[in-house]
């Protein structure tokens, strides 16, 4: 049986193709202004990589903020369920899931039956989301994907005090002017976003094991800062961005079984 999951996020769209509980292929691209088109293209690319056509897929589930735009999907499923299913498939021992995308952050507690028992969502404030990192990367003229590695060289105790992305921007500008190195500023930025996320997850209570996924989890500077703030090891999927799409595909597999 072949199934697909497609996760239409505010910044990127992700697709995963599963065959008999194994990942055949996956693809990630920018959502742009047209969610429907992005969903089509992303699934198309993933299928092409697997050497399949849309006709050979038994069931497709869409998720993410743009889930309703994937007109070809058989069903739409919530992001929380998909995050939990994806995380439990990758790491069966998971009890806390942190999913940080471009414009929101979800913290979820789940049990051994792969059921979400509690969750919290921030989609109101850019602090603690990927946009915060994007803004900072642009300002410091560092590529988003390089931020994490670059910051690892720092051992300074400089902090960004404002959590608001707008105020933090001014604060970072004054750090630059006062001659603090980019490396140390990047490290401060990662500590800032980690402490926002920590606040959110600690309100729920942290239960091990903890999985961090979503595009922001690709930033090693952030995951290191969060791990330090939480005082615990974190599990990070090899491809953190596709966890939601994987979860959607897993739900599709269950539904059509």
């Amino acid at each position: 049986m072949i199934v697909a999951g497609v996760d239409i996020g505010s910044l990127t769209t992700k697709a995963v193709i599963l065959k008999d509980d194994k990942i055949l292929s996956w693809h990630v691209m920018f959502t742009g202004t047209h969610g429907a088109e992005a969903a089509n293209k992303t699934v198309g690319e993933a299928l092409r990589e697997a050497g399949l056509s849309l006709g050979s897929v038994d069931y497709i589930i869409s998720t993410g903020v743009g889930k309703l735009e994937a007109s070809f999907s058989n069903e739409q499923v919530g992001e929380i369920l998909c995050a939990v299913r994806g995380a439990c498939w990758l790491f069966p021992s998971v009890r806390t899931v942190i999913d940080i995308g471009a414009e929101n952050c979800r913290t979820i507690k789940c049990n051994e039956n792969r059921k979400a028992t509690q969750f919290d969502l921030n989609d109101k404030c850019a602090a603690g989301t990927g946009v915060f990192l994007e803004t900072m990367a642009a300002m410091l003229e560092v590529r988003l994907e390089d931020m994490g590695k670059l910051s690892m060289g720092s051992n300074s105790d400089i902090n960004v005090n404002f959590s608001c992305a707008v105020f933090a921007e001014s604060e970072v500008i004054s750090l630059v002017h006062s001659g603090i190195s980019k490396v140390d500023i990047l490290s401060a930025i990662h500590k800032s976003i980690a402490s926002r996320v920590y606040l959110m997850v600690s309100k729920m209570g942290i239960e091990k094991d903890v999985v961090v996924a979503g595009g922001v989890a690709k930033n090693v500077g952030f995951t290191a800062a969060l791990s330090q703030r939480m005082g615990s090891e974190l599990l990070v999927p090899q491809e953190p961005q596709i966890m939601g799409a994987l979860g959607a595909a897993l739900v599709a597999e269950e539904t059509s079984r």
């Binding site: 202004t33 109101k124 404030c125 850019a126 915060f132 608001c164 992305a165 707008v166 105020f167 004054s174």
Partner: protein, 239 residues
Amino acid sequence: MLTGADSAESAEKVMDETLSKAGLLLGSIEYIVSTGYGRLLVPFANRNITEISCHAKGINSLFSLARTILDMGGQDCKAIRCDEGGKVTNFAMNDKCAAGAGRSMEVMARLLEVPLEDMGERSLQTVERPSTISTTCVVFAKSEVISLLHSGVHKNDIIAGLCDALSHRVLALLKRVGVEKEFAIAGGIAKNIGVVQRLEEKLGLRAHIAFEPQIVGALGAALFAKELLEKSIKCGVDN
């Protein structure tokens, strides 16, 4: 003038400018009180007093009946309650989130390429109807505004939506301390007629607006300086 990166330097400069307008020298000033974010950094001040106390004092001297004060600057927003002597009885402050501060207007003015001082006026000249801005965070609202622009919405309608959203947020802060009938607005936001009018509508009140809303805090500081000087003379303490 703009504070810039060095508040001590800008304090000195703004003092020099003001003194020269009055035809005075720093030596002729008997007592100086500093206030505001950088109040600890003013080298020539005899004392510093919080901006909350100074705003209440300043407003009290201008509008003796005012018991509720809104002070919104670029960086924060304060709702203050005071007694008949201008003494602060309660206050609530937002200095954490740019969405509830004047900064949001600055960011949007730049994005829309409209002078900040025109934002209020233009918000009252809607072409169709005010846009609804559904996100709170300034960063998210920027994307929202960009897509409104792309879909051909008139700038004035967007500005109207932004002013409405800001007045809504200010109202929430004011409600935390409670609003009495005599209500005054200070700080840069008082210059934005779009926010002021919408806030007045929501409150069902007319606000007292200082003729120079940005100098109310400094005025309050000067009044404190006068009081402190008089007190020290009375006590025979040489300052």
